[in-house]
């Protein structure tokens, strides 16, 4: 591990510069400047990379524009973007789901478990093992989100504490079950993996679908009303609870897809420490806040965070001797910086509050 050290880290903060321009921008302007800023930074990096091919910028440009970075970005973006989209549905409806991390963990484990039970290459009723793995992961995550929904909506739990509990339960349960079934917190590798194309396709479809659902359907309008002024929705005869259940369950479904995609793209569940999810659920929250509850913005922010992660992986492979742990820290620091710059977002008026219909 030779030493060029921290200089390699520096350019990566720059993609965030649009954030400082964001204050006071309107919603569409916000997303636009997010995209424009990211593209602008990439262009700058590309140009400086071409101009000085032997510098760190040159290497970085090589990394950023390499196909392997693109594919691993797609792979890493799936859990962040999908969980982020799920988070939008929950929070728009008025339930802050801070347990996305737990949903990713449980679906990651269950999908791998299901695949190993069916046996890769086998099929049940004509459904191939990997598809079953996905379905199982989604089912597990949806189930856990349903528990969360009941606890928050029916039993008026504090949403933050309940979300935290969802995370901690999954953080304990997945390694527990892995040990029960496989004798260790990490599962054996399945030996196959789902290609990045699948992850990318799912992300694109989920983003487009979420956008349509939120902006064009009656459900989307009810969701928004439930989060902004539940009483207004209640007084026109739409059940706030039902809308909120739907929002939370959708967050479970989408996180389930994301968690399964994460694990199956490697073919293994890693359960040591913070598990293989490593805070992606929390980064997903920041992604949708950064994307201002807009699915397209969430896609952009998720891709940005995943891209950072992908770049650090490549950097290590290239032999820059920044200790890998330190490079892994970059996305977390970026999240903090983003949150600091974005500050208070336009959180739905009634998010986090329990709603009770009168009499």
């Amino acid at each position: 591990m030779p030493p060029p050290a921290a200089t390699g880290v520096k350019p990566m903060r720059n993609p965030l510069s649009p954030a400082s321009l964001l204050e006071g921008a309107s919603e569409s302007g916000y997303v636009r400047s997010l995209i424009a800023g990211t593209v602008g930074m990439l262009a700058l990096l590309g140009v400086s990379g071409l101009a000085f091919p032997d510098s760190v910028a040159g290497d970085l440009a090589g990394i950023v524009f390499s196909t392997s970075t693109a594919t691993s970005t797609a792979r890493l973006a799936a859990p962040i973007v999908l969980a982020g989209l799920g988070g939008i549905f929950a929070e728009k409806s008025g339930v802050i789901n801070i347990g996305l991390e737990g949903l990713l963990i449980i679906s990651a484990f269950v999908s791998v478990y299901a695949a190993s039970v069916v046996g890769v290459g086998n099929a049940v009723l004509g459904v191939p093992a990997l598809a079953i793995a996905f379905l199982a992961g989604i089912a597990a995550s949806t189930f856990l989100s349903a528990v969360f929904a009941v606890v928050c909506i029916e039993f008026k739990a504090d949403q933050i504490i309940a979300g935290l509990a969802v995370w901690l339960i999954a953080l304990g349960l997945a390694p527990f079950l892995s040990t029960v079934f496989f004798g260790g917190v990490n599962t054996p590798n399945l030996g196959v993996s789902v290609g990045w194309q699948y992850s990318a396709t799912m992300v694109v479809f989920a983003t487009a679908g979420s956008w349509w659902l939120l902006n064009k359907t009656a459900f989307g309008k009810h969701l928004r009303a439930a989060g902004e002024n539940p009483k207004a929705l209640d007084t026109v005869g739409v059940s706030v609870s039902q809308v909120r259940y739907a929002g939370v369950l959708l967050s479970g479904v989408l996180s389930g897809v994301g968690g399964s995609a994460l694990a199956l793209s490697i073919g293994q569940f890693v359960g040591s420490g913070e598990t293989m999810v490593q805070g992606k659920g929390f980064i997903a929250i920041v992604a949708y806040l950064f994307g201002n509850y807009n699915p397209l913005g969430t896609l952009g922010a998720g891709a940005l965070f995943a891209g950072l992660d992908a770049i650090q992986i490549r950097l290590q492979q290239l032999g820059y001797a920044i200790p890998d742990t330190l490079v892994q820290t970059i996305p977390y620091v970026v999240v903090i910086v983003v949150l600091t710059l974005v500050g208070r977002t336009q959180i739905p008026e009634a998010a986090g509050e329990h709603y009770e219909t009168e009499e």
């Binding site: 359907t217 902004e228 207004a232 026109v236």
Partner: protein
């Protein structure tokens, strides 16, 4: 012919309370019916029964003679009953048409898409039929309160309402918007709709309604035709005794300048300027009233003076000392007291008992704090003394603030603030939601304070209150004073004009001089004894 609405012997009990006691109410189709009564008389409960929010303990609801039983507002809506709540049930970031069709959206593509065109058309069509001037694509947050109210009415009409219940519809409107609302009433009743509105204002019931039903303590004490009754008779029905309208003010001598505000600008939470270039001053022994429709910058002004909100520009001098950049703590230490409008948010910590609430604001000062340690014994003595002097009930320092009624909470806050021996009291809506007895008590205390030579800035949207108590009356509209007048000589109509943002005609120019810029002090308000009242 059967009445459109007939409530027959409605009784509604809550644990420990009878909100409605055997109330009868008949409302003819195509008429406007006012439900008049004081706060707590049971008006809203009765309407909630009609709207399906509460089930009556006893009695029957009939529509067009048919007995009906509503399990939820949904049933009431389906039966053609619409309610417009005092706090509008609108989703602020959504558009007018989205709000109107919410919950009943027309869809296409097998429900996968809201049919925006059809929805807009329906809204435009309704809005034209009743002569409403509302832009279907405007965002609720961007339109005026009057327009929002019309959106609420459209919502009810879109759902096929034949009977419209309106809870205190004029509470948030300027006098001019109120006139427009009466116009809307006419338009609606001409087309066969029936309107019931809740009010506690005599004048409004007399001018807008065909019939008036007066409720007192949950009992119907009489239904009269508006044409056959006088103001005094109504007042007596409402209160049950003769009413004294004017608190006694005595002549006064003003002391030294306590508060001086110059070119003050303050922004609201969204960063919009809420107070614009305000200037005035206030002397000891004087009550300056600030009247205006809610939401015209009064709250921000009070918060800026008391240190709860940063100023954007301008100067606030308190007893000669600049307060800009000083903290809330600094002001408390210098003897500024504040009776906040939102007593349950700011004025009291609801989960604390009165002993703990009694030290709020003085928690770092002797005798309660010594060397950083709180002396709960001293705190309890203090709370008990406030409770006794200000007649707070129950007289229990260990009672949690949330267990007290609104009036007693307010008395405790007032007591705590007055016991600081302040030089300046900023009182924001000190009697809002407070019963008549406590209101009189609080008014007397404010006058006593004035007699002691203290300065009082009184913000209120109750005209009779500010007019009765103030030595000078400033009317605020969109963050600016549209006039500073002598409350003894000004008429209600003149105040109404000022509240709507109009200036007064030539005769009154002197009073409104404040509005005509200029740096030098104008001679304002010849009526009042003081002179350098206000400058612009």
């Amino acid at each position: 012919m059967n009445p459109a609405v007939h409530l027959d012997g409605i009784t509604k009990r809550f644990p420990g309370v009878v909100a409605n006691d055997d109330v009868d109410l008949a409302v003819e189709r195509g008429s406007v019916h006012a439900l008049l009564g004081e706060n707590g008389a049971g008006k809203t409960t009765l309407m909630n029964v009609l709207y399906g929010l509460y089930r009556p303990t006893e009695g029957t609801v009939r529509l067009d003679g048919e007995p009906r039983s509503f399990d939820s507002p949904r049933d009431a809506i389906d039966a053609g009953v619409g309610m417009i709540h005092q706090h509008f049930m609108l989703v602020d970031p959504m558009t007018v048409w989205e709000n109107v069709v919410l919950g009943n959206e027309p869809t296409t593509w097998g429900g996968l898409r809201v049919d925006r065109e059809a929805a807009r058309e329906a809204v435009v069509e309704l809005s034209e039929r009743y002569g409403f001037d509302v832009d279907p694509d405007a965002t609720i947050a961007d339109i005026s309160v009057g327009e929002q109210q019309r959106v609420e009415i459209l919502k009810a009409l879109y759902r096929g309402a034949e009977v419209l219940i309106m809870d205190e519809p004029t509470a948030v409107l300027t006098p001019q918007e109120v006139e427009e609302l009466y116009g809307v009433f006419e338009e609606l009743t001409e087309q066969g709709k029936t309107i019931i509105f809740i009010s506690h204002k005599l004048g409004e019931a007399l001018s807008a309604a065909d019939d008036i039903t007066v409720l007192r303590d949950g009992v119907n004490v009489g239904t009269v035709a508006a044409a056959d009754v006088t103001r005094e008779e109504l007042a007596e029905l409402m209160v049950g005794r003769e009413v004294l309208m004017d608190p006694a003010t005595s002549p006064r001598e003003t002391g030294e300048r306590v508060l001086e505000v110059t070119d003050l600008c303050v922004e609201d939470d969204r960063g919009v300027e809420a107070v614009s270039d305000l200037s005035f001053e206030l002397r000891g022994g004087e009550i300056l009233g600030i009247a205006g429709v809610d939401g015209n910058g009064q709250s921000q002004l009070a918060e800026a003076i008391t240190g709860l909100r940063e100023t954007a520009s301008g100067e606030i001098r308190y007893r000669g000392e600049s307060m800009v950049g000083q903290t809330r703590r600094d002001r408390i230490d210098r003897g500024m007291a504040f009776i906040p409008e939102d007593r349950q948010e700011r004025g009291l910590v609801m989960s604390y008992d009165l002993t703990e609430n009694g030290v709020l604001g003085s928690q770092h000062d002797p005798p309660f704090a010594r060397g950083g340690r709180l002396d709960w014994g001293a705190a309890q003595d203090h709370a008990e003394s406030v409770i006794e002097q200000y007649d707070v009930r129950p007289p229990d320092a260990d009672a949690e603030a949330e267990s007290l009624s609104g009036g007693n909470q307010q008395k405790f806050i007032v007591g705590r603030e007055f016991e600081r021996d302040p030089e300046l009291v900023v009182a924001a809506h000190p009697t809002r939601g407070v019963d008549i007895g406590s209101t009189e008590f609080l008014h007397d205390r404010l006058l006593e304070l004035r007699a002691e030579g203290k300065a009082v800035l009184l913000v209120s949207s109750k005209l009779d209150e500010v007019q009765g108590l103030s030595d000078r009356l400033a009317v605020i509209h969109e963050g600016e004073f549209t006039g500073v007048v002598d409350p003894a000589t000004v008429t209600e109509e003149e105040i109404g004009l000022l509240m709507a943002g109009e200036s007064l005609d030539d005769d009154s120019v002197e009073r409104a001089a404040i509005h005509d810029a200029g740096g030098a002090p104008d001679e304002v308000d010849g009526g009042a004894a003081d002179d350098e009242g206000v400058d612009a």
